[in-house]
Amino acid sequence: MGRNDPNRASWKRYAPLILAAIVILVPLAVPSRYILRTLVNIFFFAALGCAWNIIGGYAGQLSLGHAAFLAMGAYPTALLLLNLNIPPWLGFIPGVVLASIVAYLLGHLVFRLRGPYLALSTLAFAEILRILLLHFRNQTSGSLGVTIPFKGTSVWKLQFASEQPYYYICLGLLGFCLYVTHRIHNSKMGYYLQAIKENQDAAENLGINLSGNKVKALMMSAALTAMMGGFYVAYFYYIDPDSVAGMDLSIKILLVAIIGGVGTVWGPVVGACILVSLTEISNYLFGGGRAGASLVIYAIILMIVVLFSPRGLIALLPGGLRSYRSE
């Protein structure tokens, strides 16, 4: 099909609108809590994947400890809500600020490292946070976690009995993450990050401030992740160090981005769809008790992607390759 093929043009122009319409109308048309909850999960992980993508996909700096930033958003939100009755949509702000500051410091510390050393330090960093969260039991309730009691529907506190409001909130947050990614993708920063990912020496020789750009990307990524940490508290009502700062979550986050497509705006959405659907399918087939099954599948998919389709599965979709920018 040529670039000027009229058929292709209208398909391309209307498809996103149709998709957007569907997504917005689903909760009104489909009453099933299960489906809505699944979709919220997809949006949630897609947003996290998007956030990770900024530093891991565009800049190519693999962070294996991103859950730490989620925890940095979740814990302040939860504790402020529980102890001071501050609603999550205010409470997440300190979390975001905290995550940004930590990202700034961490970035300056570890971005001089490359490859596996960098990945290892991010791992260590997340583990350190998890250990500290477990240790300071008086403040964080340690391994018992923090439970937010549901006290009836309250818009102020973002507590709802039905799924619909959560659906739209999460969709909105995802939209924001996608928007941020889109802006980066098409900006000078997006090009610079890609250059850094391809060849740091060459990038530096073109006047690109390696450390500055990487730290900036990490800060944005951390802030968005922490923001989703706030949502996590409002939606799941329970956090503990292992679930919000553990390796399992960090791996899921990066899986979403990598399997979907690094360095693209929509890759994480694709990745989240695949991942969440697979979890649901495997739970259905093997029962919820077989906790390992879905992760086994993820791991295999990751291996396949790494070995055979490193640009992610979005490359296999029609028109997917154009999601990547090469010039």
Partner: protein, 252 residues
């Protein structure tokens, strides 16, 4: 080209003053001083291991001198990070090319242009111009990992030019080129110089460097052993000794 407001015609655009760099026990650059005048083409030659690459590293801010100073356009470069050196107006090509493999040739050069021209559309215009000059028009939309070695060299040059430097540092760009290609490159370099670009060229291909340099600086074992016009250098006994006394390379 970005114009330099402060430089006087007496001083050099780039000055190395008594620069010394040692790695452990090995002194790679020993008390070297020379300057590159604005608008000239200075050649830097010497046998393998003479310290040429170290000088490049020092100028670009990748290495820090143990002593001495490096002045560009009246201000010191020492303690600047490499990207800041580039922002000041010096750009280099890499001897072993470092293309951004998964981007097209246009993309590669565009990133260079973005340094001075943040607006993508304008930068793209400049990029196209540079690509044409350097004779890469035929591979503009090809991924950098799929182009020939010669094109890779041109890409190095194009990228460096895109950053609109005042001083271009060319690191062995002639290696492996046919005589015709060498002449084409020399032509291009002369044109660039005529437009106001200053060039510091490091080379092993004697034919090229003798042909194009206004002046030449010769290094051996980290020390400057000669400086002058090409004809003087060619007859300088110290230079001949340096090259023939060891298994130095001498292509022509």
């Amino acid at each position: 080209m970005v114009t330099a407001p402060n430089e006087s015609l007496d001083e050099g655009l780039l000055e190395l003053r008594k620069v010394t760099k040692a790695f452990g026990g090995l002194t790679a650059v020993d008390d070297v001083s020379f300057s590159v005048r604005k608008g000239e083409i200075l050649g830097l030659i010497g046998p393998n291991g003479a310290g040429k690459s170290t000088i490049v590293g020092l100028v670009m801010g990748v290495l820090k001198p143990n002593s001495g100073d490096i002045i560009f356009d009246g201000e010191t470069l020492v303690n600047l990070k490499p990207h800041q050196v580039v922002q000041r107006g010096i750009c280099r090509t890499f001897q072993v090319e470092k293309p951004l493999l998964n981007m097209t040739v246009t993309g590669n050069v565009l990133i260079g242009a973005l340094l001075r021209t943040p607006d993508r559309e304008e930068a793209l215009e400049q990029t196209k111009g540079i690509i044409e000059r350097v004779r890469l028009g035929h591979v503009g939309h090809v991924l950098a990992k799929n182009i020939t070695v010669q094109d890779r060299k041109r890409l190095e040059l194009a990228r460096a030019l895109a950053t609109r430097p005042n001083l271009l540092l060319l690191d062995e760009v002639m290696a492996g080129l046919t005589p015709l290609e060498i002449d084409q490159s020399l032509d291009l370099l002369r044109k660039l110089r005529d437009e106001g670009l200053t060039l510091l060229i490091i080379e092993h291909v004697m034919r090229a460097i003798m042909n194009i340099s206004d002046r030449i600086v010769v290094l051996d074992y980290g020390k400057k052993i000669a400086e002058g016009g090409p004809r003087d250098i060619a007859h300088d006994p110290a230079v001949v000794e340096a090259y023939l006394g060891k298994k130095g390379t001498r292509n022509g």
